[in-house]
């Protein structure tokens, strides 16, 4: 088998895995009410100790997994488009696939214990995000014109690796929340719910920046392109306010807004599919236009972050001082 065919397979596998995993992640939310029988063997399950922290942790795993699925599919497509010119371009595929698997494991796991392998994977994901950002910055900076509009539009997307960083951070947070069954959930001595809300708010702003830049490149030719640059910053402000506010608030509006952002993230795939159809040859020419048109896997990163926001809010509800 020649190399381009291998690349095709890798990219296809990445997309397929992320899609399947995303579907199972989202369907696993039903596990909260009806634990499936196959997890009877899960050892040391102690649901009475502090079900709320485990529940929040699992929701964070799910958020981290949604982000990882988005990264896996997005980097598969985009790095395939870049012909995996640099061997390092395989890294985000491997790491996000691992993060995704870890998140699936965490979402299914009812135990109130941190898991060493999960911790390690999430830290690896965060590190990959940081290093990837460095690579992407280097790629943009070395092009003629340096950090010009031309190069931030068409060079490696500077903000993209941040998604795997956020996935790692959220996953790491989930482990801290999960192991805090006897104490108040803390992350680096900060109240966990508020810390996660703040990280998620910052993530929403960063992702807005990425969407804003690329939608500006598309000249906002469709008014719906304004949604992901207007709705998420409001969500970020609501989360920040929740993070900074005192205990006892219900955050009903913020919660509702996070659900709106989750919906927007998944609806974005539909809008991007429409965008693909508006390129020459439409979906009949899918092999070219999926690479050319708006990235199908990108919008769900908003959903991943909004799910994390919901988890943080849930944690704060259960533990007013978290």
């Amino acid at each position: 088998m020649n190399r381009p065919a291998e690349r095709d397979l890798i990219a296809m596998a990445g997309i397929a895995a992320s899609g399947l995993a995303l579907a199972s992640l989202l369907s696993s939310s039903s596990a909260r009410v009806r634990p499936p029988r196959w997890r009877l063997a899960a050892p040391g399950r102690n649901r009475s100790s502090n079900p709320e922290t485990v529940k929040a942790a699992r929701r964070l795993n799910r958020a981290a997994g949604t982000l990882a699925a988005s990264v896996l599919a997005d980097s598969s497509v985009e790095h395939y488009r870049g012909s995996f010119k640099n061997k390092a371009m395989y890294t985000p595929l491997l790491v996000s696939a691992l993060t995704l698997a870890t998140s699936l494991h965490g979402t299914a796991d009812m135990r109130p214990l941190a898991h060493k392998a999960r911790d390690a994977t999430y830290l690896l994901a965060a590190a990959t995000g940081l290093v990837g950002s460095g690579f992407h910055l280097y790629n943009v900076g070395k092009r003629v014109g340096g950090f010009s509009w031309q190069n931030v539009f068409y060079g490696a997307p500077i903000g993209a690796p941040m998604a795997i960083l956020l996935s790692g951070l959220l996953g790491f947070c989930s482990e801290r929340v999960r192991e805090a069954h006897r104490t108040r959930p803390r992350i680096f001595r900060l109240p966990a719910g508020r810390a996660i809300a703040a990280v998620t708010g910052a993530g929403l702003l960063g992702t807005t920046g990425e969407a804003g830049l690329l939608h500006f490149r598309g000249a906002y030719h469709n008014p719906f392109m304004l949604l992901p640059v207007t709705l998420p910053p409001i969500g970020a402000a609501l989360l920040m306010s929740a993070a900074g506010g005192g205990p006892g608030r219900t955050h009903r509006f913020t919660r509702w807004w996070m659900r709106l952002l989750t919906g927007m993230g998944f609806a974005g795939v539909g809008f991007h599919a429409y965008g693909v159809s508006r390129n020459m040859g439409g979906w009949r020419n899918w092999s070219q236009n999926i690479l050319n048109g708006p990235p199908l896997p990108a919008p769900p990163s908003f959903a991943g972050l909004a799910l994390a926001g919901l988890a943080a809010l849930g944690l704060m509800k259960a533990h007013p001082d978290a």
């Binding site: 003629v144 014109g145 598309g218 469709n222 965008g275 390129n279 020459m280």
Partner: protein
């Protein structure tokens, strides 16, 4: 999909031999085999405007006048193409877009006609133009009084720059976020395209020489627009865009014109403008479907570009106007200006593949806006190049004399070729002109003789540019550098506008001084050409002319006819069909 194809096959016809725009419909340029309803006018009843030519000048004016409620019939000698089904990725096939009728060229530097400087199709040469959409430097509109050469335009640059903004919006020009030269301009409606290898070489050269460069503002889409798809970087731009990304008159102004009630007549060669005994024009004689016809009109607009416009005016001579129409100044056909189009070529060690994407993705207008360090009047811009293979083989043969094995060897380096080419200002000279020869063409019309010689200033400008571009290529480590010193591009002049009937053919409104219901609206009216591609300026002039015609009509200062609301209602009914 199957249905679409079946439909396309069913209506396939030969646009080169039978008119398509008839029976109340015109080709739908956005759908293979598709049609749009089109209003048609009787020949015996005068329309408000008969427009000769449907390119950047005539196409734009037809749209604007129809949208203002005038009855409009626009004629084009060429076919009415649907780019999606009629254009091939084949340079030879696409020569069908060029005006290749007989012409005679002479002078010290005879022009090479028939490709980049002509168009014979509905949409004119915008169907195959390189889409470079530049504004004129403000001072050029007063080049005589401010820069000391050429002639002043009777137009104010502020007004022209506001029309540029209108055109840039109408064509969704894809340009840089900020433009490095000249007064501030509004942001281009669409973002610039990614640079290709050739453009990056231009950029590196400019940075090495310490001058500014930018992405070229281009009339090709970088994002979807209605039924038009964004550019796929196919690279066949100058042989006709088959995806409709190119915002030619054919896919922008003409569909708007038809929707507003204008009629387009394709394969309709206008041979003579008729003058009544009153001294006013009364319509046009045109050849279509194998015979000569006559369309009555209250006003006639000639928009046939710098050769066919003077040719038609000269061919329409009568006893009353023995030297041709609108020619009391004797300037019809004179002051023809081409633009110098010299190039420096070289070879880069790495692959360039310059043919990918639009040919001129990067530009520097440094020597348009910088007057210090010049030993010549005028300015030039230079752009990255992407010659298609057949053109490149021809260039190697014509400019370097390569043939046989040496040509084959040179073509093997095609992927490594890098080049820079100027669009340079040539000065107006009365001796550069279009006259009529005694020979006649297939319609029995006298063919034009085009006389062209460079002046010393032209040569100094070319010399300066070639030296500078050689340095730019040397700065990016190009090897085997050689000079192509004989190319020219756009054609302008031959019916210049001015503020004095003795020294110009038309006034600032493109209305002829001699015959108040005869107008000229294309590149012919340029008093000077500047160092920028003219299409945006031609369209800006057309938009301004339409606004002026509407204003004159409201004041009752048109010779005949005026905006009639009844016509607008009719056109709306047509759209509902």
């Amino acid at each position: 999909m199957m249905q679409l194809h079946a439909g396309a096959t069913a209506v396939s016809d030969d646009p080169l031999h039978a008119p398509r725009a008839c029976d109340g419909r015109a080709p739908d340029v956005f759908r293979p085999g598709g049609w749009v309803p089109m209003r048609q006018y009787r020949e015996s009843e005068p329309v408000d405007f008969a427009i000769v030519g449907t390119g950047a000048g005539g196409g734009t004016l037809a749209c604007k006048l129809a949208e203002y409620g005038f009855s409009v019939v626009a004629f084009d000698a060429g076919p009415y193409f649907r780019p999606l089904e009629d254009f091939a990725s084949d340079e030879s096939e696409q020569t069908k877009l060029y005006w290749t009728d007989d012409r005679i060229v002479d002078g010290d530097n005879p022009l090479q006609l028939g490709s980049n400087n002509s168009g014979k199709a509905v949409g004119g040469s915008t169907v195959h133009f390189a889409m470079v959409s530049l504004r004129f430097r403000p001072e050029w509109f007063k080049s005589r009084s401010m820069l000391g050469y050429g002639a002043d335009w009777p137009l104010d640059w502020h007004e022209m720059w506001s029309y540029y903004a209108e055109i840039e919006q109408a064509l969704k020009i894809a340009g840089p976020v900020t433009y490095p030269w000249g007064p501030p301009r509004p942001r281009y409606p669409y973002r610039a395209h990614p640079l290709n290898g050739a453009a990056r070489a231009l950029a590196k050269g400019c940075e090495a020489l310490g001058i500014k460069w930018t992405e070229t503002p281009l009339a090709t889409l970088s994002a979807p627009r209605g039924l038009a798809r964004p550019c796929v970087y196919r690279g066949f731009c100058v042989t006709g865009c088959s995806t409709n990304a190119k915002q030619s008159a054919l896919v922008t102004w003409i569909p708007r014109a038809i929707a507003a009630g204008a009629e387009i007549r394709d394969l309709a060669m206008v041979g003579r403008v008729e003058v009544e005994s009153s001294g006013l024009v009364s319509g046009v004689h045109y050849h279509r479907d194998g015979r000569w016809r006559f369309q009555r009109a209250r006003n006639v607009v000639v928009a046939g570009y710098a050769i066919e416009t003077p040719r038609l005016l000269l061919n329409s001579a009568t006893a009353r106007f023995p030297n041709g129409l609108a020619n009391s100044s004797g300037l019809v056909g004179k002051n023809l200006m081409t633009q110098s189009n010299q190039a420096v070529w070289g070879r880069l060690e790495q692959e360039v593949r310059s043919y990918k994407g639009p040919p001129s993705l990067a530009i520097t207008e440094h020597w348009n806006y910088e007057d210090r360090g010049k030993d010549f009047f005028g300015g030039y811009s230079y752009m990255s190049q992407g010659p298609l293979p057949q053109l490149w083989a021809n260039t190697l043969f014509n400019a370097r004399g390569l043939w046989g094995n040496s040509l084959v060897e040179a073509m093997k380096d095609y992927n490594h070729v890098v080049g820079l080419k100027i669009v340079g200002e040539m000065l107006p000279q009365e001796s550069n002109r279009v006259t009529l020869s005694e020979e006649v063409d297939q319609y029995g019309l006298r063919i034009p003789r085009i006389t062209y010689s460079w002046c010393d200033n032209d040569k100094r400008l070319i010399d300066h540019s070639l030296k500078f571009m050689r340095r730019a290529l040397e700065a990016v480590n190009a090897t085997d550098i050689w000079i192509q010193d004989d190319d020219t591009c756009h054609l302008n002049g031959t019916a210049r506008m001015g503020s004095d009937a003795r020294s110009s053919v038309v006034d600032a409104d493109c209305r002829s001084w001699d015959i108040p219901n005869l107008w000229i609206c294309d590149g012919s009216v340029f008093p000077t050409v500047g160092g920028a591609n003219p299409s945006l300026t031609i369209q800006a002039i057309a938009c301004r002319t339409a606004d002026r015609i509407r204003a004159l009509a409201r004041r009752g200062e048109l010779e005949a006819g005026s905006a009639r609301p009844s016509i607008h209602r009719c056109s709306i009914e047509v759209q509902r069909l």
